[in-house]
Structures are given as C-alpha cells and as structure tokens.
Amino acid sequence: MSLDSKNAPARPAPGHERTSVLASLLKLRELPVILALVLLVAVTAALNPLFLSEQGIKDLLLNATILMILAVGQTLVIITRNIDLSVGSILGLVAFGTGSLFAAAPDVPIVVVFVLGMLLGAALGAFNGLLITIAKVPALVITLGTLYIYRGINNAWAGGTQYFAGDRPQAFGDLSVDTFLGFPLITLIAVGVVAIVAVYMLGTRQGRDLYAIGSDPDAARLFGIPVTRRVLLAFVVNGLLAGLAGVLYASRFNSVGATTGAGLELDVVAAAVVGGVAIFGGSGTVLGAAIGALLLTTITSALTALRVDKFWQQAIVGVLILAAVVIDRIASVRSARKLRIAEARNV
C-alpha cells in the first residue's frame, strides 16, 4: 500500500484547488451508507407508519445498540490493518459473567458490574493483542483461535446454566427499557461511546497514529510511531467495548448462557465494511461503522415491518456488503484515473 514510486511519474502535480464544501461532502465515505439508511427508513415508514412510531424508533435503536458498540471497537482494530474475530465470544463470556455476578451478589452496584465487565473484556482483548503484537502472528489466525477458546471457556463455565432477566435487578434491566428524550438509556451509552471514540480517532495524536499504522505499517515503524503499543491498545479497547456490549446484552435480553453472542463476529465485521471501513486498514470512520451497524439491524426490522419474507434478509445484507466494497473500488479507480488524466495533460 505504499505509494508506488514506479507508477508515479516524475512530474510536479498540477495545483490543487481548494475543494468546495459540497464536493467534500460528496466525497464523504459515509455518504452511501447514510443514503441507504435514509432511503430504507423512508420507504418502510411510508408503507408502514408504525415503523416510525415511538416504540418503533425505540426498538430500532435498541436493536442497533449492541452491534454499534461492537462495530466501533472492531473499526479501531480494522483501521490498524488487523481484525478481531473473537468479539462474539468475548461478548458471550462477559454477558454470562454479568449474569453470574448478579446471581452471586444481587446487591452489587450496577456501576461496578459495568466496570468489571469492561475490565474482563479488556483483559480478553489484551490477550489477543499481546499474542498478535509480541508473537507477530496474523490477527486473523489468533482471533480465530481465541474465538474457539473463549467460546469454550464460556461453555465450560456456563455448562447448562442460564441466567434470566428475573435473576437481575430491575434497575439493571430498566436500562434498556427507560428512555431519556425518547432514546433508550443503553442507546445513549452507545452514542456516547461512538462520540468518545470518534473524537479520539479524529482529534488525538494516538488516534491518528492508528490510521497511519493501518495505512502503511512499515512506514509507521520507520516513522517512530510505537506500532506495537498502539495496536495492542486497539485490541484492548476493542475488548473493553465488547465487554461493555456484553453487559448491555445482559441488560437487554432475557437469558445469558453458553452460546450468547455466537456468530456475531461476522455481523460486526460486515457492519464496519458496510460503513465504509476499508478491510485493509487506514481508512474509514467510527461513525461510518456505527451507521453501518444501524443499517444492518434496521434492514431486519424493516423487512419484518414490510412483511417481506424474512428469508431475503441475509441475502440483502450480503448484497450490501458487496456494494460497499464495490463502491470503494470505484471511488479509488475514479480518483486514480482523474489523476492520470490531469498529469497526462500536464506533459
């Protein structure tokens, strides 16, 4: 991915004019996914007004919450040119841990549960990160391994035990029931997470380092960016967010057990890709991934609301992912061609 000096001609580029606001808006990577979301919601709402009722919106947001948080974490990792397939298993472990904690100590303050859940997630993420950065092994292989291991531990720990909503304090469950200004509380937590991570990625040096690492890992190392530490951090944060998602899962859904969160990993990666995060790192935003997650979960609800055969849902998700990848490709081919033409004229 380095700038290929072989294909770049030895020639000063033409002057680059400042791009207009509109043009830069059109170039926004999140634009297609936002449009798709708006279109989907508009069409569905037109056909079934109940879709945008108060309860309808609440459900939409609630459904997206957990995937959104996971997608945000995954984005951090993907931007550094890595991937974490173990998030579903981490979520499962933390969710079950939350259930067990409440079962063992029903009076434990909810804040403590959140902190413990996130710490457990962070620890699991750190294990991934350490293996990947220290042993220098591809993330795909390591996290495929920990996908199995964490799930195995979850199964061994939970066995046949399941904890139900009734085993947890009312106040904890209410987090995913009560609303503030029409937004469910756990969705607000997710929005907060998106905002914090987005600011971190856009506005801090560490965040920008992550983009640099994914953009060209060798150059980043040459440049003195602490690649190992940053990548480790990305995995820890991803684990932490998966932990948070696990706690919220326990709040929102009825039962947590051995299989909680199984198979989520591909949905999460899909959400990020649909949201415009490049699978080979370096570009994409947290906001895009969050909207991607919202889009994927909204499709499910919209199809049900439109009484469309739900069997189509997965196929549509597949088409969306492919569309996102193709759009990316077209955009980069287009800009490359524009550049070549500009340079040809300049000869």
Binding site: G159, A165, G173, N254, S255, T259
Partner: protein, 353 residues
C-alpha cells in the same frame, strides 16, 4: 459442567493434555509427547445396561429439567450408567456423530430428542443394527428410526389448551400470531397444525385470525427480535402463542419492556421458573406446560423395558414407569406422559422447574 462429569475424569484430562502437547510437539519440531497417560479405560463392565441421553442441544434450561428427570429415571430403572452427550448447537446434523460414537461404545439404550426427524435417521438405523434400542423423547424422529416416542402429552391436547388460553385472554376475537422454535421442529409443527385445524373448524374461534407464524429458532436474541417484528408488522395483533420455552420467555421479556405490556396477550409453553417474573408483573396471565422431568423419567423406564425385552414398542404394550405407574404404548409407538399443567399467578409459586 452439570451433566458432563462422571466416569474417568483423569483419562479425559489426559486426552485433552495430549491434544495440547501434540500442538507443542508440532510447533517445536521435535521433543517428547508428554505421555503421562491417564488411568485405564472402563465404561461400565460388560453385561450391564447403559443408557445415553442426546438432547437437542446442551445448555438449554428446559433440556436440563428433562435430563434431570432422565437421570433419576435411569438410576431407578436400574441402568448401570447413564450419560448425557450432545452438541452445543441445535443444528440438524450435529447429533449424528454423537449417535455414531454411542453406537460404537455399544450403549444399550439411546434416548434422543431429534433436531431434524430425518437427519438422524441413518445413524439411528446403524445404532439399532448394532443392537441399541432407540427411544425418542420430546421431539420425535421419523417413526421408522425409533422404537418408541415418549411424548409430552397428546399433541392435540397441547394445541387446544394453548388456543383456549389465548382465546380467553383476548376475549375470543382478534388477530393472533405464533412464535415457534425452528421451522423444522417436529413437535411444534404438529401442534401448530392442530391449532390451525381447530381455528378453522371450531365456531368458538371464528373471530380469531391467525395472521403470522414466525420462528425464533429457540435462540433468545432471535426470538426477541421476531416478537418485536411481529408487533410492528401487525399493529392490531391481540395475542401471541409461543409453544416453546425459549420463545415465550424472550417474547415476555420484550413485551414487559415495551408499551405493549398488558395490551398484547401472551401464552404458550414455558418454564415456571423462567416465567415467574412476567406472570407477577402482569405481562403473562396464564401459560401451560407438562412436567418436563417426567418426560425424561418415563423415557428412561421405557428404554429399560425395551432393553430387557419386556416390550417391543408395539401399540398396546405396557411398562412400569417407576413412581408414575404403568404406561401404555399408543398408536404409532407413542407413550404419553401426562396432562399439561396451567400456570398462573395463583399457583406458579408451587412449582420449581
């Protein structure tokens, strides 16, 4: 792990240890395999009868209750050993290799709740050829592949009770929907068929319209979202029947956290322990279930009777099912366990399963 202990734990650990050390050998390109082999094998001496339960999947609370009864029944009936093995996911094919392994071990009685009535067929055939007796319980296989089926209750009876309950709760008129387990689940599909027939034929239900059948795949999240989708797609929905314990609990959870609480009636088959909060908070008025433990209990005795050659699975055969008394095999090799119980706010605290 609740059901997966017993037997020679040491040896099992050794197998696991071996596998891990195998990995070490593999990567270190040399070295010694830690062959600290475990204790000698031995799974019940020959001549004694063994029974193995294969549920749809492990780690399902309803299954746990059934299996609890099964283990009790097995020891009372006089099996030398009883085991539970099973997949972690309820997919059609996942039970097959467990059946194969049990066949090879020479287990005398295999008690199975089939995920797919046909997928397990060839494997069960092989097991029978090898001399095992097959008892289906909870969810039937294709009748060709088993000796008998221990059914919860009469399928029609279960279906009608649920219809009665919902009719009562919605005042005998309005739209209803069904949220079932998997689309292939044998028992659920049979009940649904009876419900549809009854709705069409019984004038009492003339004003009730079944508008949708959806499947939550006995997965909590999925059932939850299906419930949500139902309410959105059918704004006039009056009630939901969920003839599966996972589905009814997930639906109850959704209703209790939404504006539909108390507005939309919910009934079906549920576990009292899971449903207690929802009955108490008014989300659910009344639901039904048989005692799942009895299911396993009877299945164990049926297996024993088959293995001893007391019965062959013909209609009309009878066997003694421990403290539950004598049971008779009905048409199609079906054994009924007992009438379903209805649970409501008044009696739910009397049950613990």
């Amino acid at each position: 792990m609740r059901f997966i202990h017993s037997g020679s734990t040491r040896r099992r650990m050794a197998v696991a240890a071996l596998a891990t050390s195998a990995a070490l050998v593999l990567s270190a390109c040399g070295g010694d395999t830690g062959s600290d082999s475990g204790g000698e094998g031995g799974s019940g001496s020959e001549g004694e009868q063994t029974i193995t339960f294969i549920p749809k999947q492990l780690n399902n609370p309803y299954t746990d209750v059934v299996l609890g009864g099964g283990e009790d029944g097995a020891s009372e009936a006089g099996f030398a050993s009883s085991e539970v093995v099973g997949p972690l996911d309820a997919s059609a094919s996942s039970q097959v290799s467990f059946i194969n392994a049990e066949t090879q071990r020479g287990t005398n009685v295999i008690v199975i709740a089939a995920n797919d009535p046909d997928a397990v067929g060839p494997a069960l055939e092989e097991a029978r050829t090898a001399g095992a007796k097959i008892v289906a319980f909870d969810s039937d296989t294709n009748p060709d592949y088993r000796d008998l089926f221990v059914s919860q209750v009469d399928a029609k009876e279960v279906a009608l009770i649920q219809l009665e309950l919902i009719s009562e709760q919605i005042g005998g008129a309005g739209e209803i929907a069904i949220l079932s387990a998997t689309a292939n689940a044998t028992n659920q599909n049979e009940w649904i068929k009876f419900m549809e027939e009854e709705l069409a034929s019984n004038p009492d239900y003339a004003e009730i319209e079944l508008v949708a059948k959806v499947y939550g795949d006995d997965d909590d999240t999925k059932s939850f979202q299906e419930a949500q989708g139902l309410l959105q797609a059918y704004p006039d929905l009056k009630g939901i029947i969920s003839p599966t314990t996972v589905g009814i609990a997930a639906t109850a959870r959704y209703l209790s956290t939404s504006e539909y609480k108390g507005e939309v009636a919910l009934t079906g088959l549920g576990l009292p322990n899971e449903m207690r909060p929802f009955v108490k908070d008014g989300t659910v008025t009344e639901f039904a279930l048989w005692d799942p433990a009895q299911l396993g209990y009877v299945a164990a005795f049926a297996g024993k009777a088959l293995a001893d050659g007391d019965i062959t699975g013909e209609a009309g055969d009878t066997f003694e099912a421990g403290e539950l008394g004598e049971r008779e095999i009905g048409d199609g090799g079906i054994v009924l366990v007992g009438p379903p119980t209805q649970f409501n706010a008044d009696n739910i605290d009397d049950y613990d399963f």
